[in-house]
Amino acid sequence: MSARTRAARGWIAAVASVAVLTLAACSSPTSSSTPSATTGKPGGSLVIGVTSDPDTLFPWKATQFQAVHLLENIYGTLTEFDKNLNVVPGLATSWDTSADGKTLTLHLRTGVKFDDGTAFDSASVKSSLDAIKNEATAAVARSSLSAVTSVDSTDASTVVLHLTAPDAALPANLATVNMAMLPAGATETALNTTPDGTGPYKLESRKPSQSITLAANTAYWGDAPTLASIEFRVIPDESSIVSALQSGNVQMAVFDDPLVAKTAEGPNVTVTKTPQLSYHVLQLNARRGALTDVNVRLAMQCAIDRQQVLDTAALGEGEVTGPITSPAYKSDPKARPCPTRDLAKAKEYLAKAGKSAGVTIDTIVSQGEYATSVNEAQNLAAQLAEVGITLKLEVLESGAYVDRWIAGDFDAAVALNGGRPDPDGMYGRYFTSTGNLNKVAGYSSPELDALFAEGKATADPAARKAIYTKISDDLENNAAWIWLFTSYTYTATATSVRGYTPMANGSLQSLRSTTVG
């Protein structure tokens, strides 16, 4: 069990990154030499070190980091993100929305084949979307299709989605691998041994819990993939991956711990850091105990210096953030009540709540999911203690933490949650009264419900941005949660690797144009 059972950590990062999509424009290198943009000779073999095996090869259920980013290379989606995370054509070459916003027509790419040779057409799209909507499939992206009432294939290359109400976020939602297009009639069991996709690479061989090898898909519809093969090699221990990078056995790895990344750096290894959409947060449950009083929540808001949490727990590697992290809709962290720590104000709020004597808040903290959790909790507790708020920390192992989190059984929770490029996808499920995670969010209001509905119905980007700024302000003014900071992921590559661009959603999609050697 050595490696600290940390393989389990895969998923939080994963949950984060499934959804997490951001503009890669903001990625900044830690070292002077960025991976070269010029490409080398195609046809090389790349070895990527990973800490765990994918837990499933079935794209509709994959949330674990390893699984998601492996499957993105095997399966195709109707829309895709480019390197700047704009929505671009994928298996659909174009799409149009009706005037009332209630139908979305997708025009499909023709001549595309699945790995087993069957053709991709409107029947595959219809069967895939219908299956994702079917609760018995237990697809994780089902709620993204909640506005879709039916799917019609008008001809072999056209599909029409009928909606109950306009959904401006739908095209972006179709771009995740959880919405992958599968051949009609494929079963989960079959695909778990023999994936059958339309992506740039296909599964060549697998040694469970040791390695997975992909080979170039010569029938791929886009530019021919540049690597002959990609091996994901399982090395359970992160520091053993560093050793493997240094000895040249592995040419690439992705880390989320800045110190690990730092030790990996060397004459033959370059490390690039990429900001993430996922955010570190102290979730409050505004439906329990003292936290039902907005003044107590605001007192906490004012008593916390976020930069101090970031510096102490995460070595300053990250940025203080407001609720919305995607660059196009980014919240201004200065717009919150008490943008800088204000202990007098915090005490004033506590007095207003009649809690000058102090309050105790039961806080759950996960251990081992991500490196900084316990240290964040410790610093938050130290800061809040100065105004008489006691965070009673309960450090739990991942299984126990997840059980409590799902049940909403906490006053407060130290969490690292995934972000998405579209703010509706990111927070609609938490802060609307009917959202499927509202129980966990612990806060909703008629005002927020109305604002989220308005945002969904609005297509104009500028108008949407104004609406989501209002939502962000509303969340902060009511201190629904205490948003803290965002962090980075670190991509270590050997100098022989060229043309690889890390993306803010953690996607390894640029492997299709990477060369090695």
Partner: protein
């Protein structure tokens, strides 16, 4: 790690003055000094007289090399490594003592009952012991440690469960033979209750076996706690544990070697001390070894 000490049954009191004898044995003396020193440091850390707190973070001074103010340097959060190591020793010792106490009590009771009453109780106890033995020990501790909300106490209990069967085995055999010894039979025939016989006549004769076994188990318990913490299933953070300190330092070893060296050396010294103590006790209490050293 499952080295059973098999000592012959010693009927009358062995070693009149065990303490003096242990002090006279070279390894015993070394063990006592080493363990004693580490315990003093641990107690100092518990009383809070050390200059730094084991969990207080000071990011400005992170990864500082050993110096006059930070004897063992600081870690990635600027925490004082010496304070953490000292608190780690306290934590390891506490867990080891609680675990071994629990294992000794339950295991000895099991061995006494099984060996003395035979029949059904013996069958049940031996059966359970066999099951626990057949379960891979580290996996057993690991699963037990993840069942309950983890605190230092649940970790101690998990380790204890692993050691209970060892104490059952170690005591059961001697009890079986003692049962047949003249004075025990005599006591039984005079009408003393069986429990009284067990406690008054059998148990005292197990002392030397138990003392040696306890000393050795303490060192294994320290190692097991460290291994569990290394796997992330020991004492929950931020409380310092020597095992988790080593785990966290693996990635730092090239830039800040003291973060691994300090807890590494200390855990080895603690275990060496306990082993030497155990050896010393064995030298004194086990007649077989007398004269061979």
């Amino acid at each position: 790690m499952s080295e059973l000490t098999e000592l012959p049954v010693t009927v009358a009191g062995t070693a009149r003055r065990p303490l003096t004898a242990v002090l006279r044995s070279r390894s015993g003396l070394a063990g006592i000094i080493l363990t004693g020193l580490l315990l003093v440091v641990a107690i100092l850390s518990l009383t809070g007289v050390l200059p730094y707190d084991a969990t207080a973070q000071d990011p400005v001074h992170r990864l500082a090399a050993p110096s006059a103010s930070h004897w063992f340097g600081t870690d990635q959060f600027g925490r004082d490594v010496f304070a953490r190591v000292a608190a780690g020793v306290a934590n390891s010792s506490l867990i080891a003592v609680v675990a071994v106490t629990f294992a000794t009590t339950v295991g000895t009771a099991g061995g006494l009952i099984g060996g003395f009453f035979r029949r059904l109780p013996d069958a049940l106890i031996s059966g359970l012991t066999n099951i626990l033995f057949a379960f891979p020990p580290l996996l057993l501790a690991l699963s037990l440690a993840s069942v309950f909300t983890r605190t230092w106490f649940t970790v101690a209990v998990a380790i204890a469960v692993v050691y209970v069967p060892i104490f059952v085995r170690v005591t059961r055999g001697p009890v079986l033979s003692l049962r047949e010894v003249e004075f025990v039979r005599a006591a039984t025939s005079t009408g003393e209750s069986r429990i009284a016989v067990m406690l008054r006549h059998v148990l005292p004769n197990l002392t030397s076996i138990l003392v040696v076994q306890i000393a050795l188990s303490l060192s294994w318990a320290v190692l097991t706690e460290a291994s569990l913490s290394f796997l992330g299933l020991g004492t929950p953070p931020p409380a310092p544990s020597l095992g988790s300190m080593i785990f966290e330092s693996r990635t730092l070893v090239s830039i800040a070697p003291w973060t691994m060296a300090a807890p590494g050396v200390v855990v080895v010294l603690l275990v060496v001390g306990l082993n030497l103590l155990g050896d010393g006790l064995r030298d004194v209490l086990d007649p077989r070894n007398r004269g061979t050293r």
